[in-house]
């Protein structure tokens, strides 16, 4: 099947998965809808759907809301980074699920630097974010090395680390580092020179972190497709034996893939923290890691498509929170939508009949071309 058909097939499959998810969502919205008659509920459902699909970008009068759009772009930042991290790790067939704990640890580390390091502006945010990235990268050595040396499942290991990270941060947050004067659990404020400046001045929280996120999308794509290490990661993911036989150091590259994933997740945490907040208050795992997995799957593990997938998820997420504010639909709907999209998108046999049809069609066309060429050659030979 040629490239164009392949692409069309992927898009059709993606749309089908999304439609099914939306259908499920609609059903659930209907169930939540207020109203006594079916008609009432129907109307409620439609208005909720409107909020979900149209609301995030458009104001009630139909005009495009730049503030809302900026909010969405800002929301993209953390999941772009966890998406990139997951792309890198999944490309090597490593099911490291530690981006969740990673982004939290990165955010926390950066926050601490932002509060306590006596550095000037410009340098402080840079150092803080890098510190976050470095610590998480180092943490990922644990599941990575345990996997390559002892064959311990990187998945279970990383899942456990998520919880360990969460509790240790909670502890530090509650005890030593809390600003006791405030009502809720949070640290002291970040020094003002540590904050990442805002990109747009319209009330949204869109910091320059967004530009950095896009930069890293490009960097990661370059890394995966234009360097020998990214190449090695991808080959190992396709066929580990082939990589070994070709002379690639499989163990080292596997460790590299997880460490890089950690670095990206940590960086995402730092940028999110210093771009949007002025104090650290996350006392639970933020959920960005799981969304990052959905993003990676939608992007087909290709970094270039991550921003698109991240925008899509952020858009839906905003839609769900709008629905929860105005339509009585709990915002957790986004989790259900994600899971459904996920399940169908990653299902290889989903629409396999359709793919078969396309393959057959392609083969038939190719044969026709061959015949035509053969008879043309015959004709000219006579």
């Amino acid at each position: 099947m040629n490239k164009r058909r392949s692409l069309i097939f992927s898009i059709v499959r993606g749309l089908a998965a999304i439609l099914i998810a939306l259908a499920v969502a609609t059903l659930l919205i209907y169930i939540c809808a207020e109203g006594d008659t079916a008609a009432d509920k129907g109307a409620q459902t439609l208005s909720a759907l409107h909020q979900l699909l149209v609301g995030p970008a458009f104001r009630s009068n139909g005009a495009l809301s730049t503030k809302n759009l900026c909010d969405i772009l800002a929301a993209m930042i953390p999941i772009t980074f966890t998406g990139l991290a997951t792309c890198v790790m999944f490309s090597a067939n490593q099911f490291n699920l530690g981006a969740e704990g990673g982004i939290m640890l990165g955010a926390f580390t950066s926050a601490l630097c932002a509060i306590y390091l006596p550095l000037p502006g410009g340098i402080l945010p840079l150092v803080s974010v890098l510190a976050g990235a470095a610590i998480v990268a180092a943490m990922m050595l644990i599941p990575a090395v345990l996997k390559t040396r002892l064959g311990v499942s990187e998945m279970v290991c990383s899942l456990m680390l998520n919880y360990v990270v969460m509790y240790i941060i909670k502890y530090l947050l509650n005890s030593h580092l809390a600003d006791k004067s405030k009502g809720q659990i949070q640290t002291y404020e970040f020094q003002s020179q540590s904050l990442i400046p805002q990109m747009v001045n319209n009330g949204s929280k869109l910091s320059w972190g967004f530009a950095i996120a896009l930069a890293f999308v490009v960097l990661t794509a370059l890394f995966m497709y234009r360097t020998r290490w990214g190449y090695a990661i991808r080959m190992i993911g396709i066929n580990k034996d082939f990589a070994m036989y070709s002379g690639i150091k499989v163990g080292g590259v596997i460790v590299l893939s997880q460490v890089l994933g950690g670095m990206l997740a940590g960086m995402g945490g730092g940028l999110e923290m210093l771009g949007r907040y002025n104090t650290y208050s996350w006392s639970a795992l933020p959920g960005y890691g799981w969304t990052g997995i959905t993003v990676a799957i939608l992007a087909g593990n290709n970094p270039i498509f991550v921003p698109l997938a991240a925008f899509f998820m952020a858009y839906l997420d905003k839609g769900c929170s709008l629905m929860s504010t105005y339509s009585n639909v709990p915002s957790q709907l986004i989790d259900i939508i994600q899971a459904v999209i996920f399940l169908f998108f990653a299902a290889e046999q989903f629409l396999s009949h359709y793919r078969q049809k396309l393959v057959v069609k392609s083969t038939q066309e190719e044969m026709k071309l061959k015949e035509a060429a053969a008879s043309a050659a015959e004709g000219s030979a006579k």
Partner: protein
Amino acid sequence: MLLKMIFTSDFFFSVLRITAPILLATLAAVIGEKAGVSNIGLEGIMMISALFGSLTAYWSGSWAVGVLVALLFGILVSLMMGFFAFNLKTDIILTGIAVNMIGSGGTLFLVKVITNSTEGKALASTTSLITKSLQIPSWNIPLIKNIPVVGDILSGHCILTYIAFLLVFLTWVLLYRTPLGLNIRSVGENPNAAASVGVSVLKIKYIAIAIGGALSGLGGAFMSMYYAMGWSQDMVAGRGFIALAAQAMGAGEPLGAMLSALVFGFAQALGIKVSATGVDSNLVSPIPYLVTILGLVVFALVVRRRIRRQHSSAALQETASDK
């Protein structure tokens, strides 16, 4: 002083109580792995069962109905997982992750809908719904309860606790004394051999994942109807994942699973005791998770040494010459 705290019958009682839900999930993992199915979604299944079990108990006024429903939901969700993983060929790990998402977000969604609270209101939970009367009952074993020390440790547990430990034996019987168990183990070890004698590999995998779902369902019921009074967000707290590690540490066998689950139960009980002395609970909570990682490492080292010592027997699949 710590030692004095540990060697009380009270402490061991709590070890057993804490171990029970982990044990149920671990047995689910054991059966699944025996059939060659890695069920990452146990966490999500427990959450879903915990919610539906406690809700049904509330609505029906009977804990038994609640437990039954929890069990049924466990089976239902795992069958759905099987459909995606075996028929639609979604990677089983991704299927599990999706189930976990539904288990954490979807349950909260449902609770908010039911309790009519969305954003802005307090954290939704059904804590108030499960009263003492709806809790799964405990059983004070007649003669045993009077034995000093031992009686205090063994008697008075929730009946699901006893069932959980009984299930260790029953799982062993299932796997090693029934035809179904034979089929499960064959499908897991050499699906070709099973298929060559007419065993339906697909059917067996579905059965195995469904049994696992049922066990996790019971684990979920335990959590929301005894361990805690009602469902709350994130209440399963990774037990489904710990179960995976416990299965690995237990060499994939029911007895090993029980011992590994007890190790975690012990670690967690210890943590709670320590935090009662004033140490911040957040410092103590990571202990079971760290113990898991440690356990996996130890297990891996032991296995490595064993393989080095004996010549591999996995060569059953290979012969010395090809055609």
